[in-house]
């Protein structure tokens, strides 16, 4: 039998080849189809290889599902030995499948979406580079290689947000948005790096397996582990846009929509969750960090949800929704339900990618109009887009039996049983908010009056765009079925499959007797709140638009705060950015560097000049004076000798 593990390196090589071909020769390739196909192949071949590996894994023994593929030695200095080697286990293979699977669909979609763009080749080169970096991130067997992927995806995100580098976005430019994304991520990376130093100094290795083995020996609540996990979590908040580093993600919507779908919804932003899951065995030993993670997660979920309620840009609503859903995943991590987090990560990848792509289809049809109040009534023009969008919206709202229902309920149930009532309660409120803003989008975009310009004749997107929508819609609909909870009489295949990865962390969790009644009750409650929210949204945004205006005016100050995103950007600008610029410019450079240091140097030179200007007077230029002094000197010397 063929051992597909041997082909692991191909998973990484194909996107890289795609990047190189398109990046180097792309400008000379005239055919968009050719460029697109190279790029799609660069993602889909890895998808097939990893599917084969998954199949092989399923047929092998549970204890033998962890493989390490070593390619070559990257850095080898003193005791620091870093290999370019990849870890294939249940978790990484699932992530690989999500990245390449959803990635391939988005690549196909992008062929249609980016049609006619003058930098078509550049776009696809970046996309493949992104896939390459993301695969490094999820497959790495050590922290440093993961960091390479981590920064690599950040770079691609930067390049793709700023893809239309000469356009304006909001009050600034796309380039500003791109820069902001990179720099905010760098702040997170600062934490990540320090965590790496701590890990290496204390465990002498950066390989996941080694580190986890050594860390598990330590006591729960160990200070070192708390520090490491907190720093890693700082890294995660950067990449996964959690409080306090979430500010870049809404701006990241400046990129083309397929990018928002791939990077800023389905894959890259979930890297933080993946990092926590990968190091779950360490996190579980740091209860303090776990609480922080859960609290940040749930706060972000609510916080972003409320902002999402009042945004008018369709992509921004989806961006805040992403932040909010990521908050749920962190809540799950924080209570120790890592497999639930990964499950939600997967279903979220399906329906959020779908939401973005469908939104892209709408934007495409309306010639780059993104304001939902300038849409409406699109249901009949864009039937496929409408249906797929609706499925995704219902899925994210947690309507059974769509995928979001299973994953979100799993999180809420775990938050209730492992965490506290309050975690569940806020999660429950958040679920209501989610439904509310999603249905607001649905009603304002597809129902009601046609508010767009008469000159625009909306038309359904070409097949190359709708087919990915349909595939993703099917996945969003049935993707949850692999994780049906026991309470509903199913077998949670997903959790069982991931069980070996989270064995250590699960063993640390408090034992909770499975209470089916509670679980039913919680499920019923969350379905109920979703249905209420749908009804309320229908009431507000379809039947009674005036009423929503009324509410808006009544709470105008609250509304204002929400529209301005709680003024977080402005706050950061005032507190951090401006003072640093001012400090650097007028204090450090123009005062300290030029006046003090250079002034000291120049003034000491001037002092010498002054001294010499006094002494130089001795040089009269009259020969006699010199001779007189000379004779005087000789006489003095003679006198000294004689006397």
């Amino acid at each position: 039998m063929v051992n597909y593990i041997n082909y692991t390196s191909l998973i990484l090589i194909f996107p890289l080849i795609g990047f190189l071909i398109n990046g180097v020769f792309g400008s000379k390739l005239k055919s968009e189809k050719l460029i697109g196909s190279i790029s799609v192949l660069g993602v889909s071949i890895p998808f097939f290889i990893s599917s084969l590996i998954l199949i092989q894994m399923l047929s092998s023994n549970i204890d033998e599902r962890l493989y390490i593929v070593n390619l070559f030695s990257w850095i080898d200095v003193g005791s620091l030995k870093i290999n370019v080697s990849y870890l294939i286990d249940e978790l990484s293979i699932i992530m690989t499948l999500i990245v390449t699977g959803v990635g391939a669909l988005i690549h196909i979609y992008a062929i249609g979406y980016m049609h006619g763009d003058k930098s078509f080749w550049r776009f696809f080169a970046y996309l493949n580079l992104f896939i390459f970096a993301m695969l490094n991130l999820v497959l790495a067997d050590n922290f440093l290689l993961m960091f390479l992927g981590w920064e690599g995806v950040g770079l691609c995100s930067y390049l793709l947000i700023g893809f239309w580098y000469d356009r304006n976005f909001d009050k600034s430019t796309t380039a500003d948005a791109a820069k902001k994304a990179f720099i905010v991520n760098r702040i997170g990376d600062f934490g990540f790096l320090i965590a790496l130093f701590l890990i290496f100094t204390n465990f002498g290795s950066l390989e996941f397996v080694d580190v986890i083995t050594q860390a598990s020996v330590l006591q729960s609540g160990d200070e070192l582990l708390t520090a490491i996990t907190l720093l890693l979590f700082l890294g995660a908040t950067g990449k996964s846009a959690q409080i306090p580093l979430f500010v870049w993600l809404p701006d990241a919507m400046a990129g083309p929509t397929p990018v928002s779908a791939l990077i800023h919804a389905a894959t890259m932003v979930t890297a933080g969750v993946y990092l926590l899951a990968r190091t779950s065995a360490i996190f579980i030993l740091a209860p303090f960090t776990m609480n922080v993670v859960a609290i940040i997660g749930i706060t972000t979920a609510i916080f972003a949800g409320t902002i999402g309620l009042v945004q008018n840009d369709i992509k921004k609503v989806l961006a805040y929704s992403t932040i909010s859903q990521l908050g749920y995943m962190f809540l799950a991590c924080g209570v120790g339900a890592f497999s639930a987090a990964i499950f939600h990560l997967m279903t979220h990848a399906f329906f959020k990618a779908l939401l973005f792509l469908a939104a892209g289809s709408v934007i495409h049809a309306l010639h780059h109009e993104q304001d939902i109040y300038k849409m409406g009534g699109l249901k009949k023009y864009l039937p496929i887009t409408f249906f797929t969008f609706l499925i995704a919206a219902l899925a994210i709202s947690g309507i059974p039996p769509l995928s979001g229902f299973f994953s979100k309920d799993e999180i809420l149930y775990k938050a209730f049983s492992f965490g506290s009532f309050w975690y569940w309660f806020f999660g429950f409120i958040g679920a209501g908010l989610t439904t509310l803003y999603m249905m607001r989008l649905v009603y304002l975009t597809f129902y009601g009056n046609e508010n767009f310009d008469d000159s625009i004749k909306p038309h359904e997107s070409p097949k190359v765009m709708t087919i990915p929508l349909i595939v993703l819609a099917i996945l969003s609909a049935i993707g949850g079925l692999i994780g049906i909870p026991h309470a509903l009489g199913g077998t949670n295949y997903f959790e069982e499959f991931l069980e070996p990865v989270f064995k250590t962390s699960n063993s640390q969790l408090p034992f909770v007797f499975e209470n089916i009644t509670t679980e039913y009750l919680l499920m019923a409650l969350s379905v109920a709140i979703s249905i209420c929210a749908i009804w309320y949204a229908r009431n507000l945004f379809l039947q009674n638009l005036k009423k929503s205006e009324l509410i808006k005016n009544k709470f105008s100050s609250a509304h204002n705060i929400l529209v301005n995103k709680y003024f977080v950007d402005e706050f950061y600008e005032k507190i951090f950015i401006n003072p640093i610029k001012k400090l650097s410019d007028s204090f450090l450079w123009k005062w300290f560097d030029i006046k003090i240091i250079d002034g000291l140097i120049n003034n000491s030179a001037k002092f010498i000049q002054y001294l010499s200007s006094v002494l130089v007077k001795v040089q009269t230029g009259v020969t006699e004076n010199y001779v007189q002094i000379f004779v005087l000197g000789v006489t003095l010397i003679l006198l000294k000798i004689i006397l």
Binding site: Q619, T620, G621, E624, Q628
Partner: protein, 100 residues
């Protein structure tokens, strides 16, 4: 035989004349001649010692000094001529180009 002291005193006298000449005269040529005078007084001392000690080294040195003095005189006079061409004077009070 004339005692050594006489020669030395005479040489010292010549030397002093030269020094005083350099100090008080303004004409470059006279200053120059005074310098020569000082050199010659040194030569005289050399020869005197050489003769009294029965050693030829002193006289050999004198030849060196004379050679150097001749060369110096040539260069010096050339400089003075060049100066005169440019400044129409050889009064050293007025030649203070090396001033700050």
């Amino acid at each position: 035989m004339i005692p050594l002291n006489y020669y030395l005193l005479f040489a010292a006298f010549l030397f002093s004349v030269g020094v005083v000449g350099v100090l008080i005269r303004r004409n470059a040529i006279i200053v120059f001649m005074c310098i020569e005078l000082m050199l010659n007084s040194v030569n005289l001392t050399f020869i005197a010692f050489s003769a009294f000690m029965g050693n030829a080294i002193g006289q050999m040195f004198v030849f060196f000094v004379m050679t150097v003095a001749a060369a110096e005189a040539a260069v010096g006079l050339a400089i003075i001529i060049a100066l005169f061409r440019n400044k129409k004077t050889i009064n050293i009070d007025q030649i203070n180009l090396l001033k700050w």
